[in-house]
Symmetry: C2
Subunit: 492 residues, 2 copies
């Protein structure tokens, strides 16, 4: 099945919109009674919505999932082209991420992971490019370079962040940490710049911006400290947890498990291609209207609409001001993620950085395709914006600006112009998290709001999406049970 989402390019085919994915659902809807009153409507079929949907359907509730796209997975989905999976969005998972690992374990997929990097063959080095030129070093040397620079960056407490944020899943355990949500990444770099070598400066900026994919001056320093704490205050775990293990079959092979389990309950309705326009809370029930005018009714709604598009939905009564304001500010991650399949098998062990004078700043060799080509995945940030589909030649130059390569295929998803995301994974500007996290997490009447964008643990990650989906499902269950005058007996 081919999704409308994503792009692929080869010299022979030119640019094609849409790529195949097992996350595309056919038929696109199984709703047969438009007047059905559901227990819960879940808006949005990313991991957060899928988790909420599955938990609620498993728990005996009649659930309807509404999704604007033709596929599930939200900001995490995979395509398979030429027998090889390309990850269009969120990719890596780890047993250091508890919520996603619980699901991998429960779906018995522990043995379906593979390692992105393979530092064993061919061009087995790290290249560092800056305005001063390009040089190569061993992976160990690169690790030492980035580790050293990052330790200076995070060392606000003389303990490399360990005392200022000792419990990453309880981020404000030490409330003094909030002060670090004032400075931006640029502010923090300014503080330590005299202590950084030119190479450290380049490597640090590229590495830190790999978390925000925004300009340094608009990226919260605090949020990086949170990522750092989640990664055990250790660069080795930044690699281990953030960019090492991916699904052999692609993310969509995981997402479909949630969907199929929900389906197996026979209590689960869904309608894809159904972008929601309005959510009206009538006290006794909630009415959800799609852009095409379909109306759905339920006792509760779980909105998993991401921050950057939350104000695109009309709420009646309106969203609380704190939510409106947070959504107006939005998050700043405008990542361009580009896959390049290259006729350069020798590049399998390459990693590289180039900052700031290139439209892709960080890339790793991520696999070998069945055709024997090297798959390189590259990330660009908003300091040097790239919209790959608008200029394929420019996109190819952005790849070859990192490493000389013969590009045979490009695959990508433009998240910035994606109407249902308007950005990639959540990364806040200074102030947003400390000022608005509680607002974003707060329920409003019969509507619960859940999204990885305001998770408290692995915020921005698939793990955070699952954390939030489980929270919303439990919230609905506890609430409906409390209000259920006469709980009915229940069966599968």
């Amino acid at each position: 099945m081919t999704s409308r989402d994503g792009y692929q390019w080869t010299d022979a085919s030119g640019l094609i919109r849409g790529v195949p994915s097992i996350g595309v659902i056919e038929p696109a809807s199984n709703v047969n009674d438009q007047d059905q009153h559901y227990d819960v409507i879940v808006v949005g079929g990313g991991y957060c919505g899928l988790t909420a949907t599955r938990d609620l359907a498993l728990s005996g509730l009649r659930v309807c999932l509404l999704e604007g796209r033709d596929r599930i997975g939200g900001r995490s989905w995979s395509t398979n082209i030429g027998g090889y999976p390309f990850e269009m969005g969120g990719t890596w998972v780890s047993w250091g991420q508890p919520h996603v690992w619980r699901e991998i374990s429960r779906y018995d997929m522990r043995d379906q992971l593979e390692c992105s990097y393979d530092f064993s063959q061919g061009v087995n080095h790290f290249s560092l490019g800056s305005e001063g030129g390009r040089r190569t070093m061993s992976h160990d040397e690169a690790d030492r370079l980035i580790t050293g620079a990052t330790l200076k960056f995070v060392n606000v407490d003389g303990e490399y962040g360990k005392t200022i944020m000792p419990q990453p899943h309880h981020e404000f355990f030490n409330p003094a940490v909030k002060r670090y949500d004032k400075p931006s990444v640029a502010d923090r770099i300014e503080q330590i710049k005299d202590d950084l070598s030119p190479d450290e400066m380049t490597a640090l900026q590229a590495f830190v911006l790999l978390s925000s994919c925004a300009k340094p001056e608009e990226s919260s320093f605090y949020e990086f400290l949170h990522w750092w704490a989640l990664c055990n205050h250790d660069y080795a775990y930044c690699i281990e947890y953030l960019i090492k293990y991916k699904f052999r079959g692609g993310q969509s092979s995981f997402a479909i498990k949630f969907f199929e389990e929900a389906l197996s309950t026979n209590r689960f309705s869904y309608a894809l291609n159904s972008p929601v326009a309005k959510i009206s809370d009538r006290d006794s029930h909630v009415e959800v209207s799609t852009r095409s005018g379909q109306k759905y009714k339920a006792s509760r709604v779980v909105s998993t609409i991401p921050l950057n598009v939350l104000n695109d939905i009309s709420f009646d009564p309106p969203l609380a001001l704190g939510k409106q304001d947070a959504a107006r500010v939005g998050h700043v991650n405008m990542c361009a993620k580009v896959h390049a399949e290259c006729r350069n098998p020798e590049l399998r062990s390459w990693v590289g950085v180039r900052y700031p004078d290139n439209k892709l700043m960080y890339a790793i060799a991520d696999g070998t395709t069945p055709a024997g080509n090297t798959h390189i995945v590259a990330f660009g940030a908003n300091h040097n914006p790239l919209k790959p589909e608008q200029d394929i030649e420019q996109t190819k130059r952005a790849v070859t600006g990192l490493v000389p390569a013969q590009i045979e295929r490009l695959v990508f998803h433009n998240w910035v112009d994606d109407e249902f995301a308007k950005g990639a994974w959540f990364y806040p500007a200074p102030g947003l998290v400390t000022e608005r996290l509680d607002d974003l997490r707060r329920r409003q009447g019969n509507i619960l709001f859940a999204n990885s964008d305001w998770a408290v643990g692995w915020r921005s990650f698939i793990d955070g999406a699952i954390e939030e989906g489980a929270r919303a499902a439990k919230g609905v269950l506890d609430d409906l049970r409390k209000n259920s005058v006469q709980p009915k007996s229940s069966r599968l």
Copy 2:
């Protein structure tokens, strides 16, 4: 409510059997229709059984939990005496343990953890006792000592175990690792003994036996490698994940959440004080008989009976030979865990080891009681067995053999003589895991077997119990759904 389990002693009261716990359930049963045919009977109310019970009841099934004790929690439960929680069994949790953390997150208990140690005051050192005498060192020095010795112990691959077991939740990823299930801990120490200083030898043995609480010659070397991999192949994470964070309100404050959530479904029956004698699989259903002759019927049974007591239940048809054999071999952990409340506030920052000439080999100061006393928790292993209730003076000497202290109170649970456990947390002799893990995990007819003793991730831990409970619940759900001719509509 006071449980029959556990013991407490003070000079004034003498030895008293039973301690109070919020894990004691009153009334002890809510079964009112003895002829009810349940969807599922769960045998055993530890975390594994509680997780299975909750997941199944949430999923719309009629579940009956049978538990032999007067309390929930199995090998993990807490008492509160004098306003202070004492952990009678499994204690520590971490966000590095994905299954338990998912539950802590879901029950919104992330902020209810506290750190066991506090290296800031008074007698702030580590004491190392051996037949050669007793000396003290700083905690940093002790860390270096144990780290150095442990690295030699685990370094079977020149990479400190990282290549032989890179994925701890997929333990046989590198099948070559199985060879390390032949040697015992004693065998491995014999291999490296010329490379260990006398202090390293003492500290290493005490530390490694803290995982098995058995004799070195009966403890599997492989299993320690698995623990090591789970702890990121790093001694710092052995501390971080295994012995750092505990619940401020005690384990029973966590266990009760599962029970209460199951109860809230109104589909959940339970009978405590109901030790199971026999489980008969009649193909069409399963009949479970208690020692007192009560019979319960269900479509499926989840047995969470621990390995060391599995052969104490009569199964009809009999257990598969692989299970019988594994249960006959059993696991070897015969831990004596003793809490001592000491009129020595200055000991709050003390940690100590003494091996082998003391009946408690490893202890840490674990808190300060409301009375201002230091709470010390001490562990003994089977190389020098201790049955605390049989000789209180001997038990006190075992504590003061570690550190001079004025003992005001003792609290403990004798797991070795506990008829429903016959041992503490799972630790295998050589060969058991590689030979019998698959047998133990295998379903038999309408009976599913789940226990932390045969988890694949954090086996032996609360995390593994939850992993297994979730696996069993999903197994039952998938199975009943598959066999359900006519799934019924369902409500809360």
